[in-house]
Amino acid sequence: MSQRIQKRFEKLKQEGRPGLVTFTTAGDPDQETAQKILNGLPAAGADIIEMGMPFSDPMADGPAIQLANLRALGSGITLSKTLDMVREFRKHDDETPIVLMGYYNPIHYYGNQRFLDDAITAGADGLIIVDLPPEEDDELCHPCLTSGLNWIRLTTPTSDEARLATVLKNSSGFVYHVSIAGITGTQSADSVDVESAIKRIRKQTDLPIAVGFGIKTPAQVRETGKIADAAVVGSALVNVIRQGVDKQLAKDQIVTNLHGLVSELAAGTR
């Protein structure tokens, strides 16, 4: 099993602080710029990198990430180029974990085992596949775990105790708690609800817990970091790219702006 995720959470524990997980989309706004964004994330303060694999129909995502998917696909990104980006990143960084997040169809089309093999070779550490619930574990979850990649699953406000057990059963790496019943980039959760959800999850697993959906500011990162092991920020970062594109900023300026926000958010973990 890929060890980078585990090692990273051990390191965070030693440092006595929560982690920052950043989400951006591969190929957004184009592959070259996205590579610069990716390569600079650890220096800007990202502890774990989540990279979206673009899909034409991102059903669980709100407008910000939907548009990121469309920009990325419009720039010609493919699943295989997404893996190229991971490979390129690994030339410079062999420690920061990369989790690939996306929807099942592009992988299904690419070929499940071929994808797992290529993702591991490229240097990915885990997968979050939104539309593969435990009911379909035979598809990709079991082969993924056998191949040595982490299978990271989402818990949600709709997960009761029995459901949590089902969800956590084949989870590895960390647990991603979706703090609201909703899509990405919309409302923010009530921290009391999140805290009680995390207590319930901790009763059933020793895995680290990251919380995401609706986290946009350093203050929210700090709040989340008090109750969880990591905070995930996605739409807020993706919106920086959108604004840059809308204002026709130079690509390097977009990269700088994005890393700037990551640094601000990272301050919330320190």
Partner: protein, 409 residues
């Protein structure tokens, strides 16, 4: 993909899906975790009520007194004469209240939603027929109704948009993605994820996560059950061929399912070939797509060589969907049903022919089925019998047809 072609033939073609919602390798439940508990709740409710005498009695009452069932099985004599071959019967689901088969399903689902204590209904719609049928039953049972509809479809189905408004529904224009039916379904799913407490999603075709493909099929199977009985009364035998158009496949599976184990009955599904299969502008998922996963089920999809979903094209908004219900994918692979396709132009010809010979303005969707009937009936013997599902009337399509024919109205 040897697993696709080597599927063993089942003892009965009517036994699917398995308890996880699979028809062979198709179907399943591919949804975000937030929705899983809701889907399981729908499944539990469906399993509880599907054979509940009171539920079935209420469904039958409204089907008869409100929808107008049974719909007639009509011998299309002039069309038969003109084609000069097999006897053509129309199963006239276009005479249902709201003008299509869609209400068979919305009625069943809203009765289930009521029993589940749900307070709000959402739906996606392409042609607007399913939206109208959902808005109708929401008015009848006094539940708020939100309908997601692609911008593109709102433009070309204006009469149905207004009908939904009259019925009290809120129409949400969908601009995401390509602003058509698939995007409307994405947005309906997004709504459902965000309103998990009180909302029931009435899916409009025999697709989506389990139990929807099975549930919608069972509500639509009234079409085939009636047709079988009616033909027995009229002709004392089974048909030689049954045929229906396919968008997501609900009217077709509704007609087909009761006949699947009658081996003498040939079955044909007609997809929309748009401007032609080679043009890339079509909606024929089986003839021109490959297996994939979208909207909660594994099925044939129009997709790129990177697994991105492609836009469908058809003159008929109701067939304009890049996927197809999973049971059809399975029936296609095991060879029980043949699937063919018909172009926009052929459907328009059939549309005119139906108006002219039978005094029936059909919807553009069943005009596709009719176009194939016109191709094969002449090659069949005069003592052979075809049943075609005339699943919708054409009032909603007159503007589209006028435009296609270059006429101003």
């Amino acid at each position: 993909m040897s697993e696709l072609t080597s599927s063993a033939l089942p003892e009965s073609y009517r036994s699917g899906p398995d308890d996880r919602g699979h028809f062979g390798i198709f179907g399943g439940r591919y949804v975000a975790e937030t929705l899983m508990p809701l889907i399981l709740e729908v499944e539990a409710a469906w399993n509880r009520y599907r054979s509940d005498p009171e539920f079935l009695a209420e469904l039958e009452y409204y089907s008869r007194d409100y929808v107008g069932r049974p719909s007639p099985l009509y011998f299309a004599e002039r069309l038969t004469e003109e084609l000069g071959g097999a006897k053509v019967y129309f199963k006239r689901d276009e005479l249902n209240h709201t003008g299509a088969h869609k209400i068979n399903n919305t009625l069943g689902q809203i009765l289930l939603a009521k029993r589940m204590g749900k307070k709000r209904i959402i739906a996606e719609t392409g042609a607007g027929q399913h939206g109208v049928a959902t808005a109708t039953v929401c008015a009848l049972f006094d539940l708020p109704c939100v309908v997601y509809m692609g911008e593109t479809d709102i433009q070309r189905q204006a009469p149905n948009v207004f009908r939904m408004k009259l019925l009290g529904a809120e129409i949400v224009p969908v601009t995401s993605g390509t602003a058509t039916l698939k995007d409307a379904m994405n947005d309906a799913l997004r709504d459902w994820v965000s309103n998990v407490e009180d909302t029931f999603y009435i899916i409009g075709t025999a697709a989506g996560p389990h139990p929807y493909p099975e549930m919608v099929r069972d509500f639509q199977s009234i079409i085939g059950t009636e047709a079988k009985q009616q033909l027995t009364e009229k002709e004392g035998r089974l048909p030689d061929l049954i045929i229906a158009c396919i968008g997501g496949g609900s009217n077709a599976i509704g007609l087909f399912h009761p006949f699947l184990d009658d081996e003498s009955v040939q079955i044909i599904g007609v997809e929309a070939a748009g401007l032609g299969l080679d043009s890339g502008k079509h909606a024929a998922s089986l003839s021109g797509g490959e297996p994939g996963v979208l909207h909660g089920n594994r099925t044939y999809l129009l997709q790129s060589d990177d697994g991105q979903i492609l836009d469908a094209h058809s003159i008929s908004a109701g067939l304009d969907y890049p996927g197809i219900g999973p049971e059809h994918s399975w029936l296609h692979n095991i060879g029980r049903v043949s699937y063919v396709s018909v172009t926009d132009e052929e459907a328009l010809e059939a549309f005119k022919q139906c108006c002219r010979t039978e005094g029936i303005i059909p919807a553009l969707e069943p005009a596709h089925a009719l176009a194939h009937v016109a191709k094969i009936a002449p090659k069949m013997r005069k003592d052979q019998i075809i049943i075609m599902n005339l699943c919708g009337r054409g009032d909603k399509d007159v503007f589209t047809v006028a435009e296609a024919l270059g006429e101003e109205i």
